[in-house]
């Protein structure tokens, strides 16, 4: 059970790039994904900025290498694009893929297609192309879709813990490896913009009509985004056997619950503190050994305050560099944990710390502030990535150089 868990590949698609190289270039050049919505059809397209991938599903099918019109939801397509890049980047053989586990996080599965065809689907006598989306109200549908498309047989799990979903799928993949149940787990999450989610967050009055400003005193809420990212985790045994050079090590993780309110974090950031603390304890690292935190930093009044206090409580006067990358991608909900894990990996690989764009005014409640400008040539060894969600879910993963 002392198996170490290594990261040997990853793949990503977001509003700032349809693969790793494009995401890296955008991050380096401060290119953000905001804009008017014109792929999703909604009355909020001009009033609520969002980070949308400017590709229609037909184009996504091509990128994903699957036929159009066969019931692939946007959630599945985004997931597949990232999943295939991850498999390729880790050079997994077809046999290794078959015996791998797939753990995918989602908030609402294929609700985008379901909402679009709702009235037709609710009338069993109607016939048409929409029928391919009959089961898209099931969140697990996308997991099996993706597994079938790439040939994964051994283990399938779909997780849904709101905005921490993909952080939890990474954790669970690692746990399955540590316990010898799997040699390889491909873990992440995928999220497509939908009217359902956009209106849901809007009804909670936490969507900013301007670009989001994490940790800024004038922050007014989040902007939504879409995307997907998957990481390939491999056991120490598998890495040695194949003589692979891992990209990084998944050194720790923590999952806790704030147990405060269904949609709000505790003002003290207890859950955030516990999740980070658990991750560091597992990695056997002291606060001084953490070089960077990719914060959850949604730019809601509640999250940033709670998370900020959690960080200050844990690190005291020695808070590491931290930033939220949500102003680049928007809040990609279920995919945020894995997308930000990829950004951490890119940071480690290229020795950079990503800036917290749109930060101007210090929050008076906090004594620390995020990184504003891109920092290069940074000596990064261990980084934390936080993901929190409705239902009090708080998760943190710790990635270190291998």
């Amino acid at each position: 059970m002392s198996q170490r868990v290594f990261i040997t590949g990853f793949g990503i698609i977001t509003s700032i790039g349809k693969n790793t190289a494009e995401n890296l270039a955008s991050l380096l050049h401060r290119r953000c994904g905001f804009g008017e919505l014109n792929v999703l059809d909604t009355i909020h397209s001009k009033t609520l900025p969002a980070c949308e991938i400017k590709l229609f599903n037909q184009e996504l099918c091509e990128l994903a290498g699957v036929p159009n019109g066969k019931g692939y939801t946007r959630t599945s397509l985004l997931g597949l694009i990232a999943l295939k890049e991850a498999i390729q980047s880790a050079s997994l053989s077809p046999a290794e893929v078959r015996d791998a586990g797939l753990l995918s996080g989602t908030t609402t599965g294929g609700i985008r297609e379901f909402e679009r065809h709702f009235y037709e689907l609710m009338d069993p006598l109607q016939k048409g192309d929409f029928a391919q989306f009959a089961d898209t109200a099931n969140p697990g549908e996308h997991g099996e879709r993706m597994a079938d498309a790439v040939g994964i047989k051994k283990y399938i799990a779909t997780l849904s813990t709101a905005c921490s979903s993909s952080a939890n799928s990474i954790m669970q993949g690692a746990q399955l490896i540590k316990h010898g149940k799997l040699d390889r787990a491909i873990c992440g999450g995928t999220e497509a913009l939908s009217r359902f989610t956009l209106n849901g967050f809007n009804s909670l009055m936490i969507v900013d009509p301007n670009h989001c400003r994490p940790f800024d005193n004038t922050r007014k809420g989040l902007n939504l985004g879409e995307g997907a990212a998957f990481l390939v985790l491999e056991s120490e045994r598998a890495v040695i056997e194949k003589r692979k050079t891992p990209l990084a090590e998944l050194r720790g993780y923590g999952n806790a619950n704030d147990a405060f309110h269904q949609t709000a974090s505790s003002p003290e950031g207890t859950g955030a503190y516990n999740a980070m603390n658990l991750a560091m304890a597992m990695a056997n690292l002291a606060p001084g050994q953490i070089d960077y935190i990719n914060a959850h930093g949604t730019a809601t009044e509640n999250n940033d305050l709670s998370e900020g206090f959690g960080i200050q409580k844990l690190f005291g006067s020695d808070v590491p560099l931290f930033s939220s990358t949500k102003p680049y991608t928007g809040h990609t909900l279920a995919a945020a944990g894995s997308i930000e894990a990829v950004y951490c990996l890119l940071g480690l690989q290229h020795r950079v710390v990503w800036p917290n764009i749109n930060f101007h005014e210090q929050m008076p409640e906090l004594s620390v502030s995020p990184v504003r400008e891109l920092k290069q040539e940074v000596d990064l060894k261990n980084v934390l990535s936080n993901s929190f969600g409705f239902g009090g879910n708080t998760s943190s993963i710790l990635i270190g150089l291998a």
């Binding site: 009804s203 909670l204 009055m205 309110h261 269904q262 949609t263 709000a264």
Partner: protein, 90 residues
Amino acid sequence: MNQTIEELTQELRQELIKQLNLEDMIPADFDENTPLFGEGLGLDSIDSLELVVLLDRNYGIKLKDPKEGRQVFHSIRTMAEYIQKNRAQV
């Protein structure tokens, strides 16, 4: 049609009970001045969002900032006064 503040508080009371499913939990001494949140009726932040929509749907009043709601939704009385002051004049 002009509604008196008494009529409005009566109407609001009914609406609140319906929208927030309060049937089983209205205390005997509940009146128009009982605080809706905290020590009073014990409503929470989600209820206040429900009330924001109620103002919009029933009275055409839009609260842009949820924080504004904290004063407006103090009690049925404060809500009625706010509605009288701000409702779209027909």
